[in-house]
């Protein structure tokens, strides 16, 4: 990572935890974990509160749908780390296979419910152009998404427009698929806290 403090500036207890995780998982510590565990009172802990609510709180979308949104936002931002990480989580949440990865390749031909497709397209525009207008929202509503579903999707978008920027700015390294797989299992089992 571009800041040494994010690689090795953690306290003794956190370093010991990282060593334990490396031993048990036989995978390197993902850079996103190093980030949220560095001075966690400043960013990691308050941000995790937001992300946990958006991704695992009560919602009109399934966990798989929300993880797919996260991966789609990351792909729109061309953030390789977050795209790979959340594709892996979405695939797991959808019951295995490569459904999320396939959906990310082509929203138009992929078999996907219209409300989710319209919501993803709106999130893509918001992420790419930094704004959407009332007509964009009316199109999503016309496709069958409820205002509550749109609100839930915007919460996901907030979190991943923060995290993706930090991944790019701090220079997260992109590890092996096995490391992402281990991270995905953790996020399904434990969430974002």
């Amino acid at each position: 990572m571009r800041l040494q403090i994010l690689d090795n500036g953690h306290g003794f207890g956190t370093k010991a935890l990282f060593a334990l995780i490396r031993t048990v998982s036989r995978q390197p510590i993902l850079d996103v974990i190093k980030l949220v565990k560095y001075r966690p009172d400043f960013y990691g802990t308050p941000m995790s509160g937001v992300t946990q609510e958006a991704m695992r709180g009560p919602s009109f979308w399934s966990v798989g749908d929300r993880e797919l949104m996260a991966a789609f936002i990351a792909k729109t931002n061309q953030c390789e780390f977050c795209t790979n990480a959340h594709s892996a989580v979405a695939d797991l949440a959808y019951g295995g296979g490569k459904k999320a990865s396939a959906l990310l390749c082509d929203l138009d031909i992929a078999r996907i419910d219209e409300p989710l497709r319209a919501t993803l397209l709106m999130l893509g525009k918001l992420t790419r152009e930094h704004a959407v207008d009332a007509d964009d929202m009316r199109a999503v509503i016309a496709a069958g998404a409820s205002p509550q579903q749109i609100g839930d999707a915007l919460a996901v978008c907030f979190s991943f427009n923060v995290i993706g920027r930090l991944a790019d700015a701090f220079g997260f390294s992109v590890p092996s698929p096995e490391a992402f797989g281990a991270g995905a299992k953790y996020l399904i089992a434990r969430g974002y806290r």
Binding site: R2, D41, Q52, E53, A134, R165, D168, A169, G171
Partner: protein
């Protein structure tokens, strides 16, 4: 329906107003992407508008100007949260407008 507002407000309050290594005015300026001077201005702007184009030299320039890594960390975090906040607020207003018409 999820409700991120209490946690989101706590996050914004913490990074803008809480204790930090960078000054609160610099953190607020990074959040707003407005009012920073070199070398933080171009870094915060890149984080907000085009984060994938950030390269080592962007961080190095900030470091070489005398800023500590902790200060750079805080400024980058504030810039990222600020831009995501503007997007979130714009989209929430658009949704509200769509429902009122």
């Amino acid at each position: 329906m999820s409700n991120i507002e209490p946690a989101r407000k706590a996050l914004l309050r913490r990074v803008r107003e809480g204790e930090g290594k960078a000054s609160p005015s610099d953190r607020r300026a990074a959040f707003d992407n407005k009012g920073l001077t070199e070398p933080l201005r171009p870094l915060a702007d890149k984080v907000a508008r085009n984060a994938r184009e950030i390269v080592d030299e962007d961080i190095d320039r900030a470091r070489q100007s005398g800023l500590s890594e902790d200060q750079i960390f805080e400024i980058v975090v504030c810039a990222a949260i600020g831009q995501a906040t503007r997007q979130y607020d714009a989209a929430s207003a658009a949704l509200k407008s769509a429902l009122e018409m």
